[in-house]
């Protein structure tokens, strides 16, 4: 109870601060469920959702599923048991998630998906999806330009079970493979992990010292690869990441990593909460279920405007 009361107080304080009137009864609860906050991307989207929900007068409960479908089902059960009115979810798999979202729906709780999509429509109310494919194409186009349309390169892929790892890789290749003089010499998964990317990059460098560029499925792996390239004195290697983290922003500003692609994680989470609010009040969101949000290329020209997955 103490937890609920503290949350309620926070919610009231939040609404008071913003000048809204406060209802006397307990506020409705919004559950925010994402992968682990170890990755700053997911932390940012959880915060974006939580703050927007509180500003709109909701209580919030923030949970993580660690990309584990079973854990995700437990978190959905928790949301149902706590009487949540809506669920904001960055899901744990395009197929495995369908049952969890259906379960919430059967319990009368609408789900609003962010970042990742699922393979069915009509179960979630909204799927506000990062256009990972478009973002990957932006990153790949910049990579191709920086490479001068030729040379040997390596690709670091994310966790193979994660749909976005596949979407990004496909987006990269749909651009890069149009250039016959760009030759892939190594393609390895580093599971989104910085430390794993460091050791993978070290071994790729040993096997292929003639490498000219590396394209990475996300920014944490790009940071690991950059550390390995720096340690080997190979800061001439062209490296492009994906996500738009502050770490990579700083590297770009210092002339290290060449580019990344920003997913508007913060705004996307806010938008999901706004649509949940609209849906709870009127029974519809006014938007189609599946909505793509475009990504933005980050280069030295605009890196200074990037802060916590949003442009200032």
């Amino acid at each position: 109870m103490r937890f609920t009361k503290a949350l309620l107080a926070a919610g009231i304080a939040g609404t008071l601060a913003l000048g809204f009137s406060v209802a006397a009864q307990a506020a409705d609860l919004v559950a925010v469920i994402t992968p682990s906050h170890d990755n700053p991307f997911f932390k940012a989207e959880a915060e974006g959702a939580q703050k927007r929900a509180q500003a709109l007068g909701y209580d919030t409960i923030v949970l993580v599923h660690d990309d584990d479908a079973n854990k995700q089902m437990e978190r959905i059960d928790t949301a149902i048991a706590r009487g949540a009115k809506a669920i904001i979810l960055d899901n744990a798999g395009a197929d495995a998630t369908v049952a969890a979202v259906q379960k919430a729906k059967d319990a009368g709780i609408p789900s609003f998906l962010i970042d990742r999509e699922i393979n069915v429509t009509g179960v979630a109310v909204s799927q506000i999806v990062s256009n990972n494919y478009q973002g990957a194409q932006l990153g790949a186009q910049e990579f191709v330009k920086l490479m001068g349309e030729k040379g040997n390169y390596a690709e670091l892929v994310g966790r193979e079970a994660d749909t976005n790892a596949g979407i990004r890789s496909q987006g990269y290749h749909d651009v890069i493979d149009d250039y016959p003089d760009l030759k892939i010499v190594a393609r390895q998964s580093a599971n989104w992990s910085q430390t794993e990317a460091f050791s993978k990059m070290e071994s790729i460098l040993q096997a292929h010292p003639d490498i000219k560029g590396v394209i990475s499925g996300n920014d944490t792996m790009a940071m690991g690869a950059w550390a390995a390239l720096t340690a080997a004195g190979r800061t001439d290697v062209i490296l492009v990441g994906f996500d738009g983290s502050n770490d990579v922003r700083d590297s770009i500003a210092q002339g290290g990593i060449k580019a990344t692609v920003l997913q508007p994680a913060y705004r996307q989470a806010e938008l999901a909460v706004e649509q949940a609010d609209q849906y709870l009040k009127t029974g519809k969101t006014g938007q189609p279920e599946k909505q793509l949000m475009d990504c933005l290329l980050i280069t030295p020209q605009n890196a200074g405007k990037l802060e916590t997955f949003a442009m200032k």
């Binding site: 999509e117 496909q170 909505q291 793509l292």
Partner: protein, 224 residues
């Protein structure tokens, strides 16, 4: 049966060592399995999906009449888009959701002032007002940036596709269609100075920036 087929593909792909991936270019999707094409097999793979067929079916009967009806003359559209992008978008454009930029449809007549054909993402610059400086850039492929053709369409939406991979492939198939039917035959070393007429689309993300058009129709005046 679709889910079980997807599962089988995912399992097969997971079992293939990464080193076995090899790149095979420009094979039709029906012939190339995901593994053979060097792309990553995902739970999204659907061999039955045939975007080229969809594009073939809609291009002449639906897409071109739709764009011709929507398009504004560039000389009228461009100033309006710079001062009142939303107004211009409502008249000459389309966007599926409010969080996306408008995709504009326009008709252009002008003279080619420059051609960048050393890159596979080839473009031409076009002067529309006769002052000798380019007012817009037109993509002539074979590599195209973006999916403006796809994003201009109000009669097929993201909701019609299982996922963003299929939606993206549809966008790429539209770009490939204009390249194969029209742009591939352009005399790439004899473009500068020629008069050009086209129907095209562009994303209005920065109203101040010089538009980057993807053509739906394009013709050159006969060489002098």
């Amino acid at each position: 049966m679709a889910p079980s087929r997807r599962l089988v593909i995912a399992i097969l792909a997971a079992g293939l060592p990464l080193a076995a991936c090899k790149l095979v270019k420009n094979e039709p999707p029906q012939a190339a399995s995901a593994a053979a094409a060097g792309s990553v097999a995902t739970s999204f793979d659907n061999p039955a999906f045939d975007p080229e067929k969809t594009v073939e079916e809609i291009w002449q009967p639906k897409l071109l009449p739709y764009l011709r009806a929507k398009a504004g003359a560039f000389s009228e559209l461009r100033p309006l888009a710079q001062t009142s992008p939303d107004q211009a978008g409502q008249r000459f454009g389309y966007r599926a959701v409010e969080s996306m930029p408008w995709t504009m449809a326009t008709t252009v007549e002008g003279r080619i002032t420059g051609a960048d054909t050393a890159t596979r993402a080839a473009t031409i610059d076009v002067d529309t007002d006769g002052d000798g400086t380019a007012d817009l850039t037109v993509q002539i492929g074979p590599v195209f940036k973006g999916t403006a053709l796809r994003d201009s369409i109000d009669f097929i939406s993201f909701n019609s596709f299982a996922n963003q991979i299929e939606y993206a492939k549809f966008g790429k198939a539209l770009n490939a269609h204009i390249y194969e039917t029209t742009l591939a035959a352009l005399p790439r070393d004899k473009l500068v100075g020629r008069k050009v007429t086209l129907l095209g689309v562009f994303t209005l993300d920065d109203p101040k920036a010089k538009p980057l058009l993807t053509p739906a129709e394009l013709s050159l005046e006969a060489a002098p």
